[in-house]
């Protein structure tokens, strides 16, 4: 696959939590339409890294350039987050709202859409994730897989330039994971630019363009998915992969 210019550039990023360095000198580029998969043991700093991108976390040091603009304290974070969709491990659907309201509310508040427009857009995205018939269900009435697909629809409805997925399938029953991964695969095929923190090796191999392997706050290895899983360059990646059964 050919890539245009980097849409996102992370340079020498550091993050300290109460004296502990969670991210150490992390740098990488993300290109338009690229699917970047971040793997690594828990505590490696993967989630922190992508949470720094949409500023749910403030990095301690380093810079992030998104769409040609440096993100700093002059950036309007709310505007930034409209352009960077995020999907969480625990779905985080708004629990007091139905599936469709979860999508229409941000459209109305953030994108200033009318009720009618918002409804139309929300229905479109619910159909896209195959949940049109669940529009009026509350999150508590949906399975984990369904909740996550609604969450994906919610993020997509704002038409982001980049989607961040923070372990999107780790809280989902194994038999429901496929539905979520299928949605993500379609998204990748449509050319969405994505960063996916995940241990789904099948997904990484099939749709990932590049793998970042992280450990202890650093990027240890950057590789092509095929090569990474068959023949990792670093010893630590080898050790990590040997512990994962599901390759």
């Amino acid at each position: 696959m050919e890539f245009n210019n980097a849409i996102l550039s992370v340079r020498n990023l550091y993050k300290k939590f109460e004296g502990v360095e969670v991210l150490k000198n992390v740098s990488f580029n993300l290109h338009e339409k690229e699917v970047l998969v971040i793997v690594g043991p828990s505590g490696a700093g993967k989630s922190t890294l992508i949470r720094c991108i949409n500023r749910l976390e403030e990095p301690t040091k380093g810079e992030i350039i998104f769409n040609g603009n440096k993100i700093d304290n002059k950036t309007d974070y709310n505007k930034l987050r409209e352009k960077i969709g995020m999907v969480f491990q625990k779905f985080n659907l708004f629990l007091h709202l139905t599936a469709i309201q979860n999508i229409t509310l941000p459209l109305k508040i953030v994108k200033k859409k009318s009720e009618k427009e918002a409804y139309k857009i929300a229905m479109e995205y619910l159909s896209k994730v195959g949940l049109k018939d669940r529009a009026n269900h509350y999150p508590i009435q949906l399975s984990g897989g369904e909740q996550q697909r609604v969450a994906i629809a919610r993020a997509l409805s704002l038409e982001p330039k980049v989607m961040l997925f923070d372990e999107p399938t780790s809280s989902i029953d194994i038999e429901l994971i496929k539905d979520v991964l299928d949605v993500m695969k379609n998204l990748a095929k449509e050319g969405m630019t994505m960063i996916v923190v995940s241990h789904e090796m099948g997904f990484a191999k099939e749709v990932g363009d590049r793998i970042l392997f992280m450990d202890k706050g650093e990027i240890i290895e950057e590789n092509d998915p095929e090569d990474f899983f068959r023949n990792p360059k670093t010893e630590r990646a080898k050790q990590f992969l040997s512990k994962i059964i599901n390759i």
């Binding site: 995020m86 969480f88 985080n92 659907l93 629990l95 007091h96 953030v110 969450a151 993020a155």
Partner: protein
């Protein structure tokens, strides 16, 4: 003087006691409404990351909760007069009760807001909502449900504590009972009457609160 309960004196007392109870309810209802408004405000200050608001909210809660309601009533009625603010017993009573319950409601709201899972705020922010929008549309609507039981208990406390207003001659339930003690030369009949009326007011409310608590605990809506 022994136990002087007398059923006919008791029956005679009831209408006058009910007149007093009307004031008790009126003062409590008005004050809880103001108390809730103040409390909402104070709780948002207390959880704010802005140090000025944060300190202000904390100070309010600590000072009010660390001093007796009776003192607040006295200050509102007698103390403010020194600054040429002469309040009648109605205004002074509502002011004192509202300010007092504002601190307790503040803590109730804070606990309610903090009980909402962190992911809700993060998700709201991640779709581009401002902090204020996230509070208004996502956090508070969920917190409101959870604060209904403790707020009901706060209202029950207010119904009882408003008896302190008798010190500034508000004709509420306990003050009327005490008057009856003088006019009827009888202690137990009016006081048992007053106690029963307090129970009639508070018991259904506490039952309601604990019912809701149990329902929420089971994860119901």
């Amino acid at each position: 003087m022994g136990f002087d309960f007398n059923i006919s004196l008791f029956m005679e007392s009831i209408p006058y006691l009910i007149d007093g109870a009307k004031y008790t309810i009126l003062f409590s209802l008005i004050s809880i409404v103001f108390g809730i408004l103040i409390g909402l405000f104070v709780s948002l200050m207390k959880i704010s990351k802005n140090p000025f608001f944060n300190i202000l909210g904390n100070l309010y809660i600590e000072i009010i909760r660390g001093t007796p309601l009776l003192l607040h009533i006295m200050i509102a009625y007698y103390g403010l007069a020194a600054f040429k603010i002469n309040l009648n017993y109605f205004t002074a009573g509502v002011l004192a009760l509202s300010i007092n319950s504002g601190a307790y409601c503040g803590e109730i709201f804070r606990a309610g807001i903090e009980s909402i899972e962190k992911g809700q705020m993060e998700a709201a922010r991640s779709v581009g909502m401002s902090y204020a929008q996230a509070m208004r549309f996502i956090i508070l609507p969920q917190a409101v449900k959870r604060v209904i039981p403790p707020l009901t208990n706060e209202f029950v406390a207010m119904l009882k504590d408003s008896s302190l207003l008798s010190i500034i001659a508000v004709p509420e339930l306990l003050r009327n009972a005490r008057q009856l003690m003088g006019t009827k030369a009888n202690v137990w009949s009016p006081f048992i009457g007053a106690g029963l009326i307090y129970l009639v007011l508070t018991l259904p409310l506490t039952r309601f609160a604990s019912l809701l608590e149990r329902r929420f605990a089971k994860g119901g809506v």
